[in-house]
Subunit: 380 residues, 2 copies
């Protein structure tokens, strides 16, 4: 099978290397910038790839929104299937890509976009052959888990830990997409469609990151037997669904609290199979390249994974109702028990209400934070 | 697709119910005892199923070694593929079944035998399309994890906790296969073949269960920041491999230490994808029935998973060398640091040597116990 790569950076080279070792998968074309055409297979003209009738599968290894979006859309419109690990472009243009793929009978394949080398979207599809999935959730970002785990186990504050993560290559120079929760929100958008056929957008989801997570917050929750993790989640009941991305103070004894370093864990709940969890490296060029090649091999074996959009599913924020801790010096018009330094526990509000409270608090206290605080009895 | 069920007990009925809801999978024949033929599809003559040319797939839902072994062998010999969750019969007759399947081009499919509803063997196969697997390990038995978790979190001793597990249906009336580690050993035999193509037997593996795990042992390890889990594992280096089943004192901060109640976690390590872990219900009629039906659906989609036996792989116990804690009142000819009440830490012995020490100790102290004690630095 002939395939084309768009981009020959870290991920593209990794894919190229893995494919070279496999029988029957040939990288015959590579799109690169005009000044980087170091290989006979390379071209800087995407039309060369679209016009090649032997290429049925295109692997997008560029990252970013443009020109990745245009190339993916053009490939799908031309009836070529696309494999990508680019969660930002997939989440941003999900409806367009899914509709294009349906129209031309091509496939949008993005297993590597969520969980890296962890078989997450494929497991969701497998479970749904028999079961209804009622929730998906997890630690979906390695950078923030590295920071939270290091702060939980060591003495450094947020800024020092972020700097260490950058030094080790676990965080980018501009870490905003990770620490503000945007990367997780992209993965929640994709997982929500895979699990429920429900289309949402990053703008619809209440998203709180960990940029203002302080050493004092860490100590407050440690005193309560809890470990803070950045969790993305989506739930469904009947024809209603809701999603959130927020720091969650998990009881110390839970599996989620134990996830170390830059690892991910992705969980689903289904009727007959019960809860399933999948753990692994969520990023990195080798796990990501590996996952993209797994998608290629599945395609070669005849697997044709398809997303479906059910227009009857309705957003209902009340599905995510629980207890929250808000830590702020702002005056807020809510009651709540004292939970720690400047922190109050507010019971029985939903994720959108919690996010609105945080937004109000940040008008006068720009470093305010909010944390979901699930009841321990839920995990016994 | 027409399929036959052998047995209509708890698992068989569960499979029958799930299949009734699916399009295109018809249970047309069911083997049952002569006095239990309550349904037109039922027969007590296995030959009726062998002679039915429309049936290409037979689901063994009986349990036990005989007659399950004979029926599975006869079906494979007749060119019919077999789906089973019966780890005892698969582990016991693995070589015979694999060779029969190769001869006739049929398949032995036993995803549900290890990890219940957790996609374990299929993930091993998927990973191996690209990677070499260097180790598999995990908590593979829900009954013993329920007991160990309850003893870790509560005050009850082993006998009280086992009785509670029996009352809740998590342990059988005769719990020997679970608490003596035999069930885990069966799963290690199957996982070792799937991961490395290495054939072993339960008799070759050093197997220590938890029957004599005491409240004092629990307190000893708790004082060292460790949680005892029953772990099955197998490692490979080049053309050598080794396996063990033993209680392992895991550091409290590890994922394994956090696994609650009757859940399982299965781990593998591979070169490019790194460590992957899979968590879920390892047993129960719904997860098991679900996993067997997943096997049926994969078969219908054209998947033909095959085991292979590589005769050049050699058992080498030294691959599993580490530190062990032995707790006994027996006099043993080994030095070791004091670790707790009657417990000594012995460094740098392998799993077979540890098992031999335990066997010697039990000549005069029938309740002696041994525990692997991996170094904490391994998990940082």
């Amino acid at each position: 099978m002939d395939i084309a790569l768009l981009g020959h950076g870290t991920v593209g080279r990794g894919v190229d290397e893995i494919c070279a070792k496999l029988d029957g998968v040939d990288v015959t074309r590579i799109l690169e910038l005009p000044d980087r055409l170091t290989d006979e297979r390379m071209t800087s003209n995407f039309q060369d790839i679209l016009d090649d009738p032997d290429i049925t599968l295109v692997l997008e290894c560029m990252g970013g929104l443009e020109p990745a979006h245009t190339f993916i859309a053009d490939a799908l419109a031309a009836g070529k299937s696309v494999v990508t690990s680019n969660k930002a472009v997939v989440a941003h243009y999900l409806q367009e890509f899914v509709e294009l793929a349906h129209t031309t009978g091509s496939q949008l394949i993005c297993e590597a976009a969520v969980g890296g080398g962890v078989p997450w979207l494929s497991s969701i599809r497998q479970v749904r052959r028999i079961d209804e999935i009622s929730s998906v959730s997890g630690i979906m970002n390695g950078t923030t888990n590295f920071i939270l785990d290091a702060m939980h186990k060591g003495d450094a504050d947020f800024a020092e830990t972020l700097a260490e993560a950058q030094r080790l290559g676990y965080a980018e120079r501009d870490p905003s997409a990770d620490i503000d929760g945007i990367d997780v929100a992209n993965k929640v958008v994709i997982s929500t469609l895979a699990a429920f056929d429900a289309l949402t957008t990053v703008d619809q989801i209440p998203v709180t990151g960990i940029r203002h997570f302080s050493k004092t917050d860490e100590e407050t929750f440690k005193a309560h037997g809890r470990t803070v993790k950045l969790i993305g989640r989506a739930v469904r009941e009947g024809d209603r669904f809701a999603c959130a991305v927020e720091p969650v103070a998990m009881p110390d004894f839970t599996v989620e609290a134990s996830i170390p370093s830059n690892f991910n864990i992705l969980s689903l709940d289904a009727e007959t199979v019960g809860p399933l969890k999948f753990y692994g490296q969520g990023a990195g060029s080798l796990p990501t390249g590996n996952a993209m090649v797994q998608d290629v091999l599945d395609y070669r074996e005849g697997k044709r994974p398809a997303f479906r959009i059910d227009p009857d599913l309705i957003w209902d924020a009340t599905l995510l109702t629980g207890d929250y801790v808000i830590r702020t010096t702002a005056n807020l018009p809510v009651d709540g028990k004292v939970y720690g330094a400047n922190a109050r526990l507010i019971e029985g509000i939903n994720a959108e209400e919690a996010y609105a409270l945080l937004t109000t608090a940040r008008e006068t206290d720009s470093e305010a934070m909010i944390f979901a605080r699930p009841r321990k009895a839920l995990f016994k």
